[in-house]
């Protein structure tokens, strides 16, 4: 029977803050304190001396009851509370912020995950971009001031990423696995967790609410940022047999150790759905600013007007050519932000953000924009953008426009290039479009054919859809960086480096002219051979390669721009209305949304009910039916008067064409950019196709919508007045 000995610790066994440290001390001198005398150790003897040196975990739910350890508990309690009471300091203007006052841990000690979670929580109540950047900046500064080696992990968690995009490392956890982990960690049934998930629509909130009825024997170590991040990378690495089980157990171990608001943000991080209204760009800006405050290494160049903005710009810019936090962050810490462009240069094998083009509406507009400038027109091929790296060791890497590794998808491309590059070429980065091609008929095939190709581990012998590479730019050649060179020079290098072989590798068809008729004819010709239109580029002045920029120096002109708003837009169906009459049983209309990259939210832009064949409507309805959710996501912005019948997970991207854009009191797209309260909507939208190659977050951005609207207003000032929502 149990010993009748009253010890002071007995009342809070389940959530004891200080007892766990006994274990640690024993770990330190393993073997000495192994269970002895056939009974469990008499804790009273053990506990007291140990808890002195301990740095016990604070846990709000532990009850400071007995007088003996009361004082110590008060101390331990204050750890979380101290952090919670101080976290508001992060909202201070960076100029008034003192990282020393914020930190609740020793220099060199691992940064507690709670700190980041609390900062996220603080951000979740803010919507202003500047405040959010300030909070992030101050958070990063606190990390730099205490434990700079934890900065990489902190930045990764803030950006909600695991590894650089081109490495293709993903957590790869399905919702059901997270549900399992939550239910097991918190002693809930899976059904219960699922039900709550449908009710709340956010597994993070479910996790937060689940921390509950089941008490614990001993509280695990508090989580640190590094521990969380390392575990994420381990989860991403698990593969093969039982990998889901292993992933689940790793998640569970993290979840079990969470306190306060940690479960909420941990779960969202696991789902890669942090959604706090800031993007990776904001993190980069905050990182740049934090580095300015930490500047010991170099001074801003003289005449820098606003060093903070300048620093943010530098970090963002460097990130486009070297999107690897693991390199940028240490370089920032050791060399400072002003040296960053020197210390971090783009590297063969690491994808650069591809330069993008702005839409225009006609040849006249182009001539207008490029007055007195030499420009060139190229066919705009309808395929998949590819950035091809050829390394000195003879290997290839092929990256998509999102820096995803496509090397396994196009073994034939690598083969063709190794055949057609000239012998003098030892290394290069090529910017090109990979297009489906019928070699017998010598015809370009539409994008839809290309999208039927397998995506991974393609074997050259199994390829049914042949592709032709249409090369139009060269960013690197034989160890030499070319992006700072003019297009004229880059193009010369390109032409010098390869042999053409029709149907396998061709240079993009180009013409240099400023004659309006000639360009118009060239445009018609491009459409005739199956292209989308033209890309017009400056040739010898203002003609450097601008990574990841939608630049004014590249303009795109599509044949069908003329009769509508210009470019088609890519939108996400987020809700639908039940069909009536002929459309009973399917959805009658869908609510589409664009994506606000900065605020990380989907904003409604129009209802769409036309442009569907019956078969297509059936297909879309049944595909979306499996994505129905009970309540709209918190990051959906929809006018109050719309009241759709069902809501969807954001999963699909639809390419949509519309007659024009108009200010709308109902829709929320780009609210605050063009009009402070009203959004923008599309008139007479029509579905063109489903964009299988895009993720919902890559839908047309609110900013682009606003640009389109401005451009339209510019060209047809009369449109604005007649605008009226349909």
């Amino acid at each position: 029977a149990a010993a009748k000995k009253k010890t002071p610790q007995t009342t809070n066994l389940s959530r004891s803050p200080n007892k766990r440290k006994i274990g640690e001390t024993q770990d330190a001198n393993l073997g000495k304190t192994i269970v002895s005398e056939g009974t469990l150790p008499k804790t009273e003897d053990l506990l007291e001396p140990v808890s002195d040196s301990a740095n016990p975990r604070s846990d709000t739910s532990s009850i400071a009851e007995d007088s003996k350890t009361g004082a110590k508990k008060a101390k331990t309690l204050s750890k979380t509370d101290e952090m919670k009471s101080k976290i508001g300091l992060l909202k201070k203007k960076p100029n008034d912020f003192d990282p020393e006052k914020m930190s609740c841990w020793e220099k060199g000690e691992r940064v507690p995950f709670l700190f980041v979670a609390l900062a996220f929580d603080l951000i979740s109540n803010e919507s202003g971009r500047i405040v959010i950047t300030d909070i992030l900046c101050n958070m990063l500064r606190t990390v730099i001031a205490t434990t700079p080696e934890d900065l990489v992990a902190t930045v990764y968690l803030s950006a909600n990423e695991i590894a650089p995009a081109h490495e293709g490392v993903e957590l790869g956890i399905g919702e059901s696995t997270i549900i399992k982990a939550i239910s097991e960690a918190f002693g809930r049934t899976e059904d219960h967790v699922k039900k709550q998930n449908t009710e709340l629509g956010d597994l993070g909130l479910v996790a937060k609410g689940s921390r509950s009825t089941q008490t614990m024997m001993f509280k695990p170590e508090p989580l640190t940022v590094v521990k969380v991040f390392d575990t994420f990378r381990q989860i991403a690495k698990e593969s093969g047999k039982d990998s889901n089980e292993k992933k689940k157990n790793r998640m569970k171990a993290l979840l079990v150790a969470t306190t306060d608001c940690e479960p909420l943000y941990l779960t969202r991080l696991l789902q890669a759905k942090l959604r706090l209204g800031f993007s990776g760009q904001t993190v980069l800006a905050a990182l740049g600013q934090a580095a300015v405050y930490n500047e010991e290494h170099s001074k801003p160049p003289p005449n820098t007007k606003s060093p903070l903005e300048e620093a943010a710009k530098i970090v963002k810019q460097v990130f486009t050519v070297l999107p690897v936090y693991d390199i940028i962050v240490p370089a920032l810490l050791s060399g400072g932000v002003w040296n960053l462009p020197k210390t971090c240069n783009f590297t063969l094998g690491v994808p650069i953000g591809p330069m993008l083009a702005k839409p225009t509406k006609g040849v006249a507009e182009i001539l207008n924009k490029f007055q007195d400038i030499v420009f060139t027109c190229e066919y705009k091929y309808d395929g998949e953008r590819a950035q091809i790296h050829f390394m000195e060791d003879g290997t290839f890497e092929i990256y998509s426009r999102n820096a995803e590794r496509n090397t396994g998808k196009y073994p034939d491309v690598a083969l063709a290039l190794s055949r057609l590059k000239k012998p003098s070429v030892k290394s290069f980065i090529l910017d090109c479009e990979v297009v489906a091609f019928d070699r017998e008929k010598k015809k370009i095939l539409p994008f839809q054919i290309l999208s039927t190709r397998a995506r991974k581990n393609v074997n050259v012998n199994d390829i049914k859809v042949g592709v032709c590479i249409f090369a139009f730019d060269m960013l690197y050649l034989n160890g030499q960086q070319l992006i700072q060179e003019n297009l004229k020079i880059r193009r010369e290098k390109l032409y010098e480096s390869f042999e053409e072989d029709p149907g396998y590798f061709q240079f993009a068809t180009a013409v240099t002219s400023n004659d309006i008729d000639e360009i118009q004819k060239f445009l018609d010709a491009s459409v005739d051979v199956g292209c989308e239109g033209l890309i017009i580029k400056t040739l010898d002045s203002d003609a450097t390669y601008e990574p990841a920029k939608r630049s004014n120096n590249w303009l795109k002109l599509k044949k069908d721009y003329m009769d509508s708003i210009g470019d088609s837009v890519d939108l996400v169906p987020i809700a639908a209305f039940h069909g009536r009459g002929k459309r009973t049983g399917v959805y009658g209309a869908f609510l589409l949304a664009c994506y606000d990259v900065d605020k990380e939210e989907f904003q409604s832009i129009c209802k769409i009910g036309t442009g569907f064949s019956d078969a297509m409507l059936d297909e879309r309805s049944s595909s979306l039916r499996s994505q129905v959710i009970a309540t709209p996501k918190q990051y959906y912005r929809v006018g109050d008067s719309l009241n759709p019948d069902v809501w969807f997970e954001p999963t699909e991207v639809w390419e949509v064409k519309a007659a024009d854009l108009t200010i709308s009191p109902v829709h929320r797209a780009a609210t605050g950019i063009v009009d402070p309260d009203k959004g923008i909507s599309l008139r007479f939208p029509r579905l063109l196709r489903v964009r299988e190659d895009k993720k919902p977050e890559e839908a047309t951005s609110s900013e682009q919508i606003a640009d389109l609207y401005q451009a339209q207003k510019h060209n047809h000032p009369s449109n604005e007045v007649k605008g009226d929502d349909d």
Partner: protein, 264 residues
């Protein structure tokens, strides 16, 4: 150098069956006093504490304290290869990263050696305070196992209440409720069939049945089980291991739903 010879090898087999569902990996600690294990399940809700005292072994040599991290699933696989009457010897050299299980048939005509790799496990050796328990129930282990199994077909939480009347196990689920009451009964032929209830204070606590059911895997080890309860404290479910030690399970209680909704 470590060498532990256990004539009743089946004990070790049963012990492992009683632990491996709850814990995947654990450190076995050997000292001059005995062979022990303490580990929590991955949710930190249950803790198992095992002790086999050195006197219970026919031969017990442990030159210096040793902690061996083992995967219990793998260990169980190996021990399943031992016959029920086999004598099991556990051997390990100091600093070695393996442990050897030797199985000898009673007639000494078959000797098998199984060597298993050890692993590094971050163990948290946790001191469990001795407590004064409000109520202690001793009952046949088979009966307890039956009750847990039956209740878990109805609900997922068991409420154990001890009052003057006896001990009540109850649960509620979607299909209905179940209550099982046992009264003190010491007038039995065999002492192990007795139900002994020692109550200082009435107590009522809720526990997840899932864990209780994994505790009852220890039933083959002992005819009786002792359940010690105190409000707000983990329950202790103890099975004696022959004359040489015990296996104790600690389970943290569930708190009432109302507390759930309180702000933290």
């Amino acid at each position: 150098m470590l060498e532990l010879r256990l004539v009743q090898g089946s004990l070790l087999k049963k012990v492992l069956e009683a632990v491996k569902d709850l814990v995947n990996d654990a450190n076995f600690d050997c000292s001059t006093t005995g062979f022990s294990l303490q580990a929590m399940d991955s949710s930190h809700v249950a803790l198992v504490s095992l002790l086999l005292r050195s006197e219970g072994f026919e031969h017990y040599r442990c030159d210096r304290n040793l902690s061996m991290g083992m995967n219990l699933g793998n260990m169980s696989k190996m021990l399943k290869c031992a016959g029920n009457d086999d004598i099991i010897t556990i051997k390990a050299d100091d600093g070695s990263d393996t442990v050897t299980f030797m199985f000898e048939s009673p007639t000494q005509d078959k000797i098998a050696d199984f060597e298993m790799k050890l692993m590094d496990i971050d163990s948290e050796h946790l001191g469990i305070p001795d407590a004064e328990y409000h109520s202690i129930v001793r009952m046949p282990s088979g009966e307890f196992s039956r009750i847990c199994k039956d209740l878990s077909s109805i609900g997922d939480t068991v409420v154990i209440s001890v009052t003057k009347e006896g001990v009540k196990f109850s649960t509620a689920g979607d299909i209905g409720t179940a209550n099982i009451v046992l009264r003190q009964n010491t007038t039995v032929d065999k002492p192990e069939d007795a139900i002994v209830i020692e109550m200082n204070e009435p107590v009522s606590l809720s526990f997840a049945l899932r864990y209780m059911n994994s505790f009852t895997k220890a039933t083959p080890l002992s005819e009786t089980v002792t359940i010690s309860l105190s409000s707000e404290l983990p329950v202790v479910v103890e099975y004696k291991v022959a004359e040489m030690g015990y296996i104790r399970y600690y389970l943290a209680p569930k708190i009432e739903e109302e507390e759930d909704t309180k702000p933290e």
